[in-house]
Amino acid sequence: MSSEPQNGQCITGSRLEKVLRAGHFAVCGEMGPPQSANTDLIRKKSAYFRGVVDAVNLTDNQTAVVRMSSIASAHIALDEGLEPVIQMTCRDRNRIALQSDLLGAHALGIRNVLCLSGDHQSMGNHPQARGVYDLDSIQLVRAARQLRDEAKFVCGEETKTPPALFIAAAANPFGDPFEARVHRLAKKIAAGADFIQTQAIYDLPRFARFMELVRAQGLHEKAFILAGVLPVKSARSLLFMKNDVAGMSIPDELIERMQGAEDPAKEGVKVAVELIQQLRAIEGVAGVHVMPAMWEQVMPEIAEAAGLLPRPEVA
C-alpha cells in the first residue's frame, strides 16, 4: 500500500508532496492555534512562515489543552497563503468524526494530514475528560489511505468524492523499547503513511542509529522522512523536556551549552541551525519539520541561517 517516494506521480495536489517528489529537501513548520476564537493570532503567526517553509502543521489540541480546531486554524492559514498540514489525534474523536473531518478538511482545500494517537487527556486542562481512542494512529493512517485510494470508509461503504490527502504519521526514535521503534515505523508505512514527521531530535547519535535501521529495511525509500527540530530559547526548556516530557532524549552537553551561553536565544538559533545541517547530511532524511513552539518569529532567521531559502517553486 505504500507509495513510491521519489519521482513518483503526485496524487493529492499537496504542495508539500510536489516538493518532496521533485527531490527537494523539504521544510515544514508548526504552529499552535490559540486558546480562543480569535483569528488574529494565526494570521500574525502565518507571516513568520510564508515563503519560509513548504508547509506548516496546525496542532490538534496539543498536550490535551483546548484550542481552536486544527482544521479551522488550517483554513485561516490557507487563506494567509500557507500550505497547512492538519494534525488529527485519536483522543477526541471516534471513527465517525475522524472520517467526517477528513472529508471536511479536503472540502476546505486542506491537502495534508498528520495522524497521531494524541497526548493523553490526563496531561491537559480537562483531565476529567473521557478519552475516545476508538482507533489508534496506525488504524487512522490506514483509514485515511483507504478513503483516499479506494474511496471507501472504514465500514467498507463507498464515497463518490474521496478526500485526496497526503498522509503523514509520526515517529519517535527516542521512545522505548528502542528496537520496537523502527518496526512500528514500518507498520505505519505499511498502513499507508506517505511521509513521516519525527519527534524533536537532540540526540543525533541515537537518531543516526535509528536511521541505520530505517535504511536497512528500506523504509526511507517507501516514505519521506522529515526529521523533527525544536528550537529552544533557554536551557530551562530543555530541562523541562528532559524531565517532564515522555519519550525525549536530550544530551547533557547541550543543556550545559545553553546554560553557558551569553545570549541563550541566539545560541538556540545556532543549535537549531547546526541540527538541521547535521540531519540533512544523514542518508534517508528527506526534510526537516521545525517546531518553534511559542517562538514562531524565529522561523525566518533559522531557515535563512540553515541555507533553506529560498523555498523551491513547484507547479
Binding site: R91, G118, H120, D136, S137, G175, D176, A246
Partner: protein, 224 residues
C-alpha cells in the same frame, strides 16, 4: 475478580440521613477478597456509622449481615428478615449486587457503600490492579496475554505510542507501558513477527452495545 473500594465516610453518612434502622450488608465474594465489603469491613463500617450518628445526636440502629453472594437470588433471599426489620440497606457489595438486591426488595431502599471500579487482581503489596476491560472480544492471544485495551492508557492496539520511556507510560512513572510488556513477552516467546502484523480496527460493539450487554446460555434456557 471485581474490585471495589469504600466510598468516603462523609458521602456514606450523607446518604443515610433520616434513616434510623439500617442493615449493612456485605458480600463474601470478590469484595471480601479485596477487603472492601467482607465480614470485617461490615463490622468496622457498622461501628463507624453508629459512633458518627451517636456523636451527631441522631442515633441509628445498625444490623450487620454478610451474604455469600449479592448477585444470585438464592443468597439475596437470605436478607429478607433483615430487610423487613429495617428502613434501608447500606450494601457493600459491587454495583451488580446493589442492582440485584434493590430489584429483589423494591421499593425498599438499597444504598451503595462502595465504588465499583474494575476487574482486576492483587498484584502484591496490597495493590490491586486492573487486568481486563471486559471489551467482549479478547485480543490476549495476539498480545502475549497482556491486555492493551485496559492496561494501555490509550487502548492502543498497535503500540507503543511515542510516550513510552524506560518501560513506563507517559501518564505516570508509576504506570507500566503495556506495550513494553507486550513487546518483551512476544520477544521471550519468539513471536515478534506477530508484532509486525497491523491489528485492524476493533469492533467495539461487544464492549459498549447500547443498553446492558447480554449473554444467553442455551443450557440454562433448557433447564427452565
Amino acid at each position: 475478580m471485581i474490585v471495589a473500594h469504600r466510598k468516603p465516610m462523609e458521602e456514606i453518612l450523607r446518604s443515610l440521613e433520616g434513616i434510623s434502622r439500617l442493615v449493612v450488608c456485605g458480600c463474601n465474594s470478590c469484595v471480601a477478597v479485596c477487603h472492601s465489603g467482607g465480614e470485617n469491613e461490615v463490622q468496622i463500617l457498622a461501628a463507624q456509622i453508629r459512633i458518627a450518628r451517636q456523636q451527631s445526636g441522631q442515633p441509628v440502629e445498625v444490623e450487620e449481615l454478610v451474604l455469600e453472594r449479592n448477585c444470585e437470588p438464592e443468597f439475596i433471599e437470605m436478607a429478607r428478615p433483615a430487610v423487613e426489620r429495617t428502613e434501608a440497606m447500606l450494601n457493600v457489595s459491587c454495583g451488580v449486587g446493589v442492582n440485584q438486591v434493590a430489584e429483589a426488595y423494591a421499593p425498599y431502599r438499597v444504598i451503595p457503600g462502595l465504588n465499583t471500579t474494575f476487574y482486576g487482581a492483587h498484584v502484591g503489596g496490597g495493590v490491586f490492579e486492573e487486568r481486563c476491560g471486559g471489551c467482549g472480544d479478547c485480543v490476549l492471544d495476539r498480545t502475549g496475554g497482556i491486555c492493551p485495551v485496559i492496561r494501555c492508557a490509550k487502548s492502543i492496539l498497535n503500540g507503543p505510542c511515542g510516550g513510552s520511556q524506560n518501560g513506563k507510560c507517559e501518564i505516570s512513572k508509576e504506570t507500566d507501558c503495556a506495550w513494553q510488556l507486550i513487546w518483551d513477552r512476544l520477544n521471550a516467546q519468539g513471536r515478534l513477527a506477530r508484532y509486525l502484523e497491523i491489528e485492524p480496527v476493533k469492533d467495539w460493539r461487544p464492549a459498549t452495545a447500547g443498553g446492558p450487554r447480554r449473554l444467553v446460555q442455551e443450557v440454562l434456557l433448557n433447564d427452565e
